[in-house]
């Protein structure tokens, strides 16, 4: 196990290094003169200003020198400065990152809470009305684009019925939970959750739907296996056969793709945060693109990529814990 973790961490570092390399060159792949492109719409800028920005972005250096400077900067916590805000990118990102993490994890939670019971029930009641209902749900969930679902949810639940707010974030969840725990009332927590519901559902629906299908089919495979028949032949109570022998095995395929799905959700935040005016890094990235704030785009891409790699690393480790067969390979 230790050796495995070490190897996986090493691979992850290599991937991060590759990402760093690509991101450090991002500014160079802008067609034409990057600084002209970035500064379009800034007519007051002198040639001298532009020259200074070129220096700052390292465009005068050879590729490898630029890369080296970038790495040294990143290692020291310097992700460059935003052209628009004229403040360090790291600060901009770290104030918005918690909102994105909150949204992503909460959608994953909702996706799992929907998918696990629905996947299992549709499998155990194969070909029943519940099963067909589950299939229809999954089909719609998979094929509806998240921004469309978001807009529909806003129209129905915020505009028409006014049960959930249409946009924005209340207290961050951890703050709200802190208040609830320290006896300052549940009001803040309730408000935070109400703001979270619509964007999380819009973001997580596709993942929930995909998981319903996956859990259903792996559960169907598992309940037909010989080891389940043997577990029954041992005279174990039905709940033990289910909880101890079937459930864990049926979840293995889903756990393996959970990392990818978290990545998918993270990607989805770019759109959903924009639709719901959610103050996270997804919305920041979209704004940075509109502003042509390349250093900020660079920084957001880097941070997102590192999160992606970390998530996959964690999932791999969890997977090895769940399925001992690969633990020893």
């Amino acid at each position: 196990m230790g050796g495995f973790v070490f190897r996986r961490v090493l691979y992850s570092l290599i991937v991060v290094l590759c990402v760093l390399f690509i991101v450090s060159l991002l500014v160079r792949i802008i067609p034409g003169d990057p600084v002209d492109v970035m500064m379009a719409g800034n007519p007051g800028m002198t040639e001298q200003d532009k020259e200074q920005i070129r220096q700052q972005l390292g465009l005068k250096d050879p590729v490898l020198v630029q890369f080296e400077k970038y790495i040294v900067g990143v290692v020291h916590g310097d992700l460059g400065s935003s052209l628009r805000f004229r403040t360090p990118n790291l600060g901009l990102i770290s104030t918005r990152l918690p909102a994105t993490l909150e949204l992503t994890l909460f959608s994953m939670l909702i996706a799992v809470i929907i998918a696990v019971p629905l996947g299992i029930i549709t499998a155990l009641k194969q070909d029943s009305a519940v099963d067909y209902g589950g299939s229809v749900f999954a089909l719609i969930g998979i094929s509806t684009p998240n921004f469309l679902l978001g807009i529909i949810l806003i129209l129905v639940f915020a505009v028409e019925f006014k049960v959930f707010p249409a946009s924005g974030q209340a207290d961050p969840l951890y703050v709200a939970i802190g208040k609830a725990v320290t006896g300052q009332g549940l009001g803040s927590l309730g408000d935070s959750l109400r703001h979270l519901v619509l964007p999380s559902v819009a973001l997580g629906m596709a993942v929930a739907a995909a998981n319903v299908r996956m859990i259903r089919s792996s559960m169907l495979d598992v309940i037909r296996t010989d080891y389940i028949r043997f577990a029954k032949a041992k005279g174990l109570p039905g709940r033990v056969v289910f909880a101890k022998h079937a459930f864990r095995n049926a979840l293995i395929p889903t756990v393996t793709v959970l990392g990818l799905q978290l990545g998918q959700l993270l990607g989805g935040t770019f759109v959903i945060e924009t639709v719901f005016a959610w103050p996270g890094i997804g919305r920041l990235a979209v704004q940075a693109i509109f502003w042509r704030d390349y250093p900020l785009i660079q920084a957001v891409v880097l941070v997102t990529a590192i999160m992606f790699v970390t998530i996959n690393l964690l999932v791999d480790i969890i997977y090895h814990w769940i399925d001992p067969r690969i633990r020893y390979d």
Binding site: T225, F230, K234, P324
Partner: protein, 321 residues
């Protein structure tokens, strides 16, 4: 002679499929006595596994027991509730399956899979269940059980896994053990070891065993009596010697002849029975075997023969003797 502990009367188990009703078990009559080892032989698809699962109460939909009785010590298993059957399974009646490499749960340690039998049938936990489990592993010939008990099934060879499966099945000294081709999936040398394990068990426990197999060699090693199945019926039953030496049903005769025999110059000779098993959705009228029977007469095409005793302990379902 010991008393009859299992008395199956006219048992029928059907599967409703798109192609029609599959009569996998179609009127089986079978008796097993305490401590007896009965070999249940017959071609692939003739309903041996389904018969075993019917006794266990483990026929899954679309299958269903549609008629007959399974009297186990006088109590009819067919009419028992699923909770009553659960309590019986793994305790008084056990079953082991063909392929040991898929019978154990791949993500649970061997110890967990053994100990849960004691836990859910006897309420034993912790040290006590573990001690019992270790004893069982030695009983089935697994060396250094203390070192191995906490491993996962995939760390065992196929033969060792089958030993674990057998240990689990006999953990609570069942009165009846159903062994569905316990050696078929194993190498020849390993087969011999598993047969030895079963033989030793027979001496130490007085479970009755129904040994389902294609292999007459295994039957000759282990069984006192033999029942021959054809298309969902028992067509002949008798003690080992009678069946091997004086088979009466033409199908049994063919089956015995199909055992490879060594001739003087060492060449193996195989006499297969011509034809194939009837499609279980389209059962021929009369004797089910008549289309393949070289001695078939008019009566065989019209009336189904019933299983009747031709000499003490020897039963045959055939019009011709």
């Amino acid at each position: 002679m010991n008393e009859v502990i299992l008395d199956i009367q006219n048992l029928e188990t059907n599967f409703v499929t798109k192609k029609g009703i599959v009569r996998a078990v179609d009127g089986v009559d079978l008796q097993v006595r305490r401590g007896e080892t009965l070999g249940l032989v017959g071609e692939s698809g003739c309903g041996k596994t389904v018969l075993g699962l019917s006794i266990m109460g483990l026929v899954d939909s679309p299958g269903r027991i549609t008629g007959g009785k399974i009297l186990f010590k006088g109590e009819d298993l067919v009419s028992k509730s699923s909770e009553e059957m659960r309590q019986l399974r793994g305790d008084r009646i056990s079953m082991i399956f063909q392929d040991p490499t898929v019978t154990l749960n791949p993500v649970l340690r061997v110890s967990q899979q053994l100990e849960e039998v004691f836990r859910y049938h006897r309420g034993m936990k912790g040290k006590e269940a573990r001690q019992k489990s270790l004893e069982l592993l030695s009983l089935v010939g697994i060396p250094q059980p203390e070192e191995r008990i906490d491993r996962y099934p995939f760390e065992f060879s196929g033969g060792m896994q089958q030993r674990v499966v057998i240990a689990i099945a006999v953990a609570l000294n069942p009165e009846l053990l159903l062994a569905d081709e316990p050696t078929t999936a194993l190498d020849v040398t390993v087969q011999a070891q598993i047969i030895k394990v079963l033989k030793d068990l027979k001496q130490q426990k007085d479970s009755a065993i129904i040994l389902i197999t294609h292999d007459m060699g295994v039957v000759a090693e282990l069984c006192e009596t033999v029942a021959v199945t054809y298309a969902g019926n028992i067509i002949e039953q008798g003690d080992l010697e009678t069946i091997l030496e004086r088979p009466s049903h033409p199908y049994t005769v063919g089956l015995i002849q199909s055992i490879p025999k060594m001739e003087e110059h060492g060449k193996a000779r195989l006499t297969a029975i011509p034809g194939t098993l009837a499609d279980p959705t389209e059962i021929p009228p009369g004797c089910k075997f008549h289309p393949r029977c070289s001695r078939a007469e008019e009566v065989c095409k019209k009336t189904r023969p019933v299983l009747r005793e031709v000499s003490p302990g020897h039963k045959v379902a055939c019009h011709l003797d």
